[in-house]
Amino acid sequence: MIDFFVQNNTGPYGLSGALLMSEELITFRAEVRDWLVENCPEEMRSPLRSEKDACWGGRNFTFQSEAQRLWLERMGEKGWTAPAWPKEYGGGGLNRQQVKILKQEMTRINARGALYSFGISMLGPALLKYGNEEQKQKFLPSIVRGEIRWCQGYSEPNAGSDLANLQAPAVDMGDRYILNGSKIWTSYGDFGDWMFCLVRTDPEATKHQGISFMLFDMQTPGITVKPILLISGRSPFCEVFFEDVKIPKDQQVGELNKGWSIAKYLLTHEREMISWTGLSQSGTKSVGETAMETIGGSDGVLDDAFLRTDIAKFEADEMAFALTIERARDEVKAGVSLGAVSSWFKYFGTELNKQRYNLLMDIGGSDALAWTGEASNDGKLARDWLRTKGNSIEGGTSEIQLNIVAKHILGLPG
């Protein structure tokens, strides 16, 4: 489960880092700049005010404005909603430096992301790695253009931290599979057109062995979706029930019964993505600035010494974390990566985000308690704060991440 709206980061690409600029890249930057100026509608050049402003695309998506529709259409045509994917599957075919330039140029004019998509952030990378040619051709281009919105089916009521214990059975019926059981914590399951799903195809095998990865249309008969109301008063997650759902055989991805490898790969992606919540959002005020504006200071020093200490500790960690993401990226480029650190990034990034929102609530005082009304944007801060409590649960709890670090990085026994 994942929810983009607690911190809507563009990811580590936003971090500074000196780039050696070749002629080619300079030209590329100029072209991107011109194209964006010409094609990014004026209304799309401001930060999202709320989650309602985000474009998720999909079969049933109601565009908020013509500008939003145009922006998606144009970016989709360029393949720049998935800039690093190969052109043959509808992507932008850009290299790492070009992707960085695109992000920088979008930031320069305050351009919103044209598309928020689990298809791009999660399913796509898995399909590119594990899918067959036919599956890539069939599914990737519609993801890039935002035509199909995907949701994920991982957790089950009895498979949370122990994800590999998932039981939803997909039984081989010759020309198709029949799926039963249920999934829980499916992000935006009520809006998903298709689901990528982990199912049990061999109930006899040990728990990691009998799992497969399947794709299916959410309109397939036998699927029921029920939103879950959270403490934030919002329902970003759903329960999904399956009753004799027919899945054509060509919608199974990768090797049968080897779906756990794909699951692990996807979870690594998900963790990295969630860990970005630890970074401060570019273009927004820092916690310290917010405190100075809200509470005030004398001679540049915040009028609340204890709060100031807590903020300094937090911001020191925040800066150190941003530098560590920068270092990890540079190490990957230099080929000296430690590997397997995504668990720690997920752990630390989400713990930081929880701290950030705790501090923002403290800073807001009684104003931060508002739950409804125009002034508080319907209690956005309070609801966001409550939502962050899930950051260290979703995508593997903090405790699970620490287990992984202890075993796989530190080599501790047990």
């Binding site: 020093v301 915040l302 530098l323 270092r327 752990y347 202890a406 530190l410 047990g414």
Partner: protein
Amino acid sequence: MALVLNEEQTMLRDAAKDFLNARAPLSHLRQLRDDDVAEGFSTELWAEMVEMGWAAIIIPEAHGGLEYGYTGLGLVLEETGRTLTPSPLLSTALLGTSALILSGNEDICAQWLPQIAAGEKLLAIAFEESAHHRPATVNCRAEPEDNGYVLNGSKFAVMDGHVADAFIVSARTRSGENLSEGVSLFLVANDTPGLRIETSELLDNHRNCVIHLEGVSVDRSRLIGPLHGGFPILQKALDRGRIGMAAEMLGIAQETFERTMQYLKERKQFGVPIGVFQALQHRAASLFGEIELCKSVVLKALQAIDEDSDEVPILASLAKAKCGQTASLATAEGIQMHGGIGMTDEFDIGFFMKRWRTLNQQLGDHRYHLDRFATLKGY
């Protein structure tokens, strides 16, 4: 600049690691302590370090140095943190040398830097006037006289003052509204009449001094940096020192952590290695992460010095605070996870805690630097 080491830096670090493991592992410090060696470090070993070029890493080639940069020196200091090898690297090769280079006084640099590079001279920086880090509080006075100035006052916590050939002394030449205005820096030779040095042995077997200046006359030529404008130079030199100390604390944290992880895998209780217990695993994993943060911060800070970035002050405070806290946690967890044996003098782990304590409390502890970090951030 990418946050990775280049080839030259990697080679320098590996050479330092090999040298220190071969010539000055932790048993070297234990021996110095047990033999009560007056200097607190081995002059023979220092000569070998000079031979390796370590005294000359940041000195410009024009003055007989290697000009490898602060990142290079930081890597060596990180390695000395792993072996706890005492030497005048911090006091002379980093702090004293930085102050001379930053002063821009060409005559003094031409005279002193080649001798420092050759290991012929040691320096100490003398600026504290109380037990707490307050570099802008300068009551030591320098009053003009015929050919120069006469200095009166006392300086505390002078690192390696007992072996220094000269001191870089901060003194007030004018009183100003702002504490940091009207401060000047002087290079005072250790045999100048009126100079009295009291040496104390510290818990980590390093030496600190109190120096008393009683009517100490210094020639005008020994004023380094602008008259009344010495504080910015001092502060800049201190930031470099803070980053170097952070690098040494990073070495301490890493070494302590690795030794502790090894112990968790070996030590058996209840019939199993104690590392199977989740109570220890989670603390270990979270400490691992803190050390990763420190690695990034230290490297960024060192690179910032080499690039003469405006971010040096904030990165220096971030590095000193973060590494101070992390090395504190690493050494405390190191002793706790080793159990009773960690409390014994015979076992090495306690040496790391003692050295951390000294490093943390010099040039501003973690609270001082968090406070400065917040101020620099504007709140």
